[in-house]
């Protein structure tokens, strides 16, 4: 519909554009605006409060649904790689138990990326759903190159929480399990080996070496549950070998008298994680115990 006046196009450059037409509507009288102002202010205040309270409630910090989730290596079976029984390469099945003490289901979803070198290679991808309060055991296939100097590590497991969060959880006891596997293999892959023994008075000197040249720290030494004094510990051992100087206990321990004279030393070592190496010392150790420690004991 065209108005009573002919349309006029007026070009004004650049801006603002002129507006032609009827006079702009006048604002309502001041008295009318002030009449709505309290209601408007009240509505605004109420809105501020309601939206603030809602935001306060909704933005509660994220919880920790996977708090207390534990992954631990609880079992291991191993065998020599086919056709390589004399090589320090082992194939193992590790049983990993994932315990979820929380209130939400979590999911194990493979391994986390790691740039750390490890003697454990050829891993498969574990997956499992663990309901609240439950334990699930998964089995992973691992190839272990026991002769490598790299520590025997398992990558962390990725645990996915119910709210989508992801967390990396290490498998506790993996180092000890992998070291046990290597210890059951041929000598070049064992964590520690005995390279010699001799007596120095009442002291038994046991030479030990780490054939793989893996960084190995000896923390303590026991024999049939009895802690032995081995001089200054911790002691770092590498391929060249070190000497453990065992001083005799003051008396013949009851455990040795009743249960047997030790032929092995239980050496607690640390290679990026704690483990126990059972060192077969044999006759030099039993002779030392019978001649020195339990001398005169029937």
């Amino acid at each position: 519909m065209i108005g009573d006046a002919a349309p006029t196009v007026q070009v004004v450059a650049p801006r603002p554009a002129p507006v032609l037409g009827p006079p702009l509507p006048q604002p309502p009288p001041v008295r009318e605006r002030s009449r709505h102002l309290p209601a408007l202010a009240a509505a605004v205040a109420m809105l501020v409060l309601v939206s603030g309270w809602t935001a306060y409630r909704l933005t509660s910090p994220p919880g920790d649904p996977a708090r207390g989730v534990v992954a631990a290596v609880t079992g291991a079976t191993s065998a020599a790689v086919s056709g390589a029984s004399t090589l320090p390469t082992r194939r193992a099945l590790l049983a990993i138990t994932i315990a979820n003490p929380g209130t939400d289901t979590v999911t194990a979803d493979g391994y986390a990326f790691t740039s750390r070198s490890s003697g454990a290679v050829g891993l498969d991808q574990p997956t499992a759903h663990v309901s609240p309060g439950e334990r699930v055991e998964i089995t992973v296939d691992v190839a272990v190159d026991c002769g490598r100097a790299a520590p025997l590590l398992l990558p962390d497991l990725v645990i996915e929480e119910s709210d989508g969060g992801r967390r990396e959880v290490p498998a506790v006891g993996a180092v000890a399990a992998l070291m046990d596997i290597c210890e059951s293999g041929p000598s070049p892959g064992r964590p520690l080996t005995v390279v010699g023994t001799h007596r120095d008075g009442d002291t038994l000197v046991v030479g030990v070496a780490a054939p793989s040249n893996r960084r190995t720290v000896v923390r303590s030494i026991r024999a049939t549950g009895v802690v032995l004094d081995a001089g200054a510990l911790p002691l770092r051992v590498d391929r060249r070998g070190e000497e453990l100087r065992l001083t005799p206990p003051p008396t013949c321990p009851r455990a040795w008298r009743e249960d047997g004279i030790p032929q092995y030393l239980d050496v607690e070592i640390d290679t990026e994680g704690p483990s126990i190496s059972r060192l077969p010392v044999g006759k030099p150790l039993t002779s030392w115990v019978l001649d020195v420690v339990c001398r005169g004991v029937a």
């Binding site: 006029t8 049939t224 032929q263 029937a298």
Partner: protein, 283 residues
């Protein structure tokens, strides 16, 4: 009525002759609408900010704990050593105050540790316990946890060997010499030169000797022992011709007695280092 005029130099501008000229109602509510939106944004922002400022810090990461069997031996009683491995993935060191367990022996076991595990570190603690495994296989399940100095607790996941009911006693029995649960105090053992002479107390009606073991190795008789009444004359045993490939050189003998009212009896005699010296002499 004059139609609205817009800047025709703008791209896509056109003259809409049908558009109403007046916008009075919209302009009237523009202010309150803006105020409402602003109130919404201010309120939401304020609430979220307040929540962030007043929120408690997130709970610290709980340490991961694994429980394993290390060894067992006779020490007047049956003593087992357990290994408690604690990994601390948190940002601050944690101090393990104590180890708590049920199912090791009757009642609750609480053993103080007081070991600090550094951030990102793993430590293994040895816990020596007296395991009550003499009567029979104890089928009570093992439940263990560690308690931190701040009062929090972390469940210890037992190894597969320990997890099943009676697992601890199975491990203990496997590690100890056979017959340990039935000691035979009346047996006399003498070592003379190369021979070991065994004198047994009366066996009772119908009972007879089935064999004598040192560790897992059966010992041979110099002469086949013959019963005289209900007892044997002193029995002479010969040493094994190989070194015993066992973790411990035996200091006790396992004696198997058959034909008793209870059937086959597996008994243990503590001899002491004398037996080990006798066994070692021929290694």
């Amino acid at each position: 009525m004059t139609p609205p005029i817009v800047d025709p130099t703008r791209r896509g501008a056109e003259l809409d002759l049908d558009a109403p000229a007046s916008t009075v109602p919209r302009q009237r509510w523009r202010g309150p609408a803006i105020a409402m939106v602003a109130a919404l944004l201010v309120g939401a922002g304020g609430g979220a900010t307040l929540r962030t400022l007043t929120a408690d810090p997130p709970p610290p990461v709980l340490p991961q704990v694994e429980l394993g069997f290390v060894e067992a031996h006779l020490d007047g009683d049956t003593v087992a050593t357990l290994g408690v491995t604690v990994h601390n993935a948190g940002r601050t060191p944690v101090t393990v105050a104590s180890f708590e367990a049920d199912g090791v022996h009757p009642g609750h076991l609480s053993q103080p540790l007081h070991v600090t595990v550094p951030s990102g570190g793993t430590s293994t603690m040895r816990v020596t316990v007296t395991a009550d495994c003499r009567k029979s296989i104890d089928a009570s399940p093992l439940a263990a946890e560690v308690r931190m100095t701040d009062g929090t607790t972390a469940t210890a996941v037992p190894s597969r060997q320990l997890a099943s009911a009676g697992g601890l006693c199975r491990q203990v029995r496997g590690a100890l010499p056979d017959g340990w649960w039935d000691p035979w105090p009346g047996v006399k053992v003498e070592v003379t030169e190369a021979k070991l002479i065994l004198t047994l107390p009366p066996l009772g009606d119908g009972a007879n000797l089935s064999g004598v073991w040192a560790g897992k190795t059966i010992l041979t008789y110099q002469e086949r022992p013959e019963l005289v009444g209900d007892r044997y004359p002193p029995i002479t045993l010969l040493p094994p011709d190989v070194c015993l490939p066992e973790p411990r050189l035996p200091t006790g003998l396992r004696i198997l007695v058959a034909g008793t009212p209870s059937g086959l009896l597996d008994r243990y005699v503590v001899v002491g280092p004398t037996l080990a010296r006798w066994l070692l002499r021929y290694c």
